[in-house]
Symmetry: C2
Subunit: 207 residues, 2 copies
């Protein structure tokens, strides 16, 4: 009986690994990825850094595992369920763009990851980008490509511009107090303006 309860023993490898992963998240949150030093990670985890080498192999492998542990695109997958597609994906695309604009703004971890992917050439970050690509390819191939026919590529280009615009503006809004094109991207007003623009441009695209 005592043994069964003792699964929660003081020394638990899995629990310790989780502490390291949580430490990565916390530091990423507070200091950004430039603050991810082995000593700091260990101190934040409340464990000896040696364990990091024993359990993960090193800092890089730990970080890779952290990135893998996050499922940043799950919300896009959720969005894609139960939406009509007989409009060439218009309803879906609109919902996706607007929800991404909101989601990325709120999810500071995702912002860090997106930025990270623009700076460092990390394997796990590339894998993340590939996941996003494959996910999108599903939508493009099955719905919008046939709908737009010879203009399929231009549609992709438009979506690429809007998605990247969303990313950049959300990150910009978080790290800068400054306006962008005179719009305050932190205020409800400014954000509503972007949402209107997104809807407007998508409408025009489907015209």
């Amino acid at each position: 009986m005592e043994q069964e309860i003792a699964v929660k023993s003081l020394r638990n490898k899995e629990k310790s690994k989780q502490k390291f992963l949580a430490a990565v998240e916390k530091i990423l949150h507070t200091k950004g990825f430039s603050g991810l030093k082995v000593n700091d990670i260990a101190r934040t985890a409340g464990l000896d850094k040696k364990l990091m080498y024993n359990y993960f192999g090193g800092k890089d492998e730990l970080i890779d595992e952290y990135i893998r542990s996050q499922d940043f695109w799950s919300n896009v997958k959720d969005e894609s369920e139960g939406t009509a597609v007989n409009d060439g994906g218009k309803t879906f695309a609109r919902a996706m763009l607007l929800s991404q604009f909101d989601y990325v703004f709120k999810n500071k971890d995702l912002q860090k990851i997106l930025l990270w992917g623009l700076i460092e050439n990390r394997k796990s970050l590339k894998k993340l980008a590939n996941d996003r690509e494959e996910n999108g390819e599903l939508l493009f191939n099955s719905i919008t490509d046939p709908y737009f026919g010879e203009n399929a590529k231009r549609y992709r280009a438009i979506i690429a511009l809007l998605i990247s615009g969303i990313y950049y503006l959300d990150i910009y809004a978080t790290t800068n107090d400054c306006t962008f094109c005179g719009l305050d991207l932190k205020s409800a007003n400014g954000r509503a303006e972007i949402e209107n623009a997104l809807t407007f441009l998508l409408d025009k695209t489907y015209e």
Copy 2:
């Protein structure tokens, strides 16, 4: 006579300062801003790091002076000269967007600076962002705001989305081999597709 030539003496404060600034540029180019360590900067400049403290006050001030020394938006100013404005700024906006798409792609230093502004809260970087804002405000206030009337803010939002999309895609293309929305942003083909999309969206906006 000898003294007048001796302006190019071996020991020249101004020349040394330039060497430091050039070193910052070189390291930024090769290693990115995470590689800007005092020892490396001094070694790259071929001078003692003590001089960096004597002449600039420290690493931060040196970097600030480097950023100030760059005039990244001069091409936008060039663009704005001699263009007709009786079309609500459409011709200008189109030329500006397309030239920015090309310029940012080619200017890796500017990419680094743009990224930097998304990560670090550096005074000189904020000033740069403000310069860009003030520059744009001139265009918006004098041309597009009156032209679009009550839709002026939506126009600004559209331009904000397109500009940021351009920034993000150009940086993404440089650091990633991966595609974005299935488009190869390094190929002439993929880039032409983005240019078409920009032109298309702007046309629809002015409809």
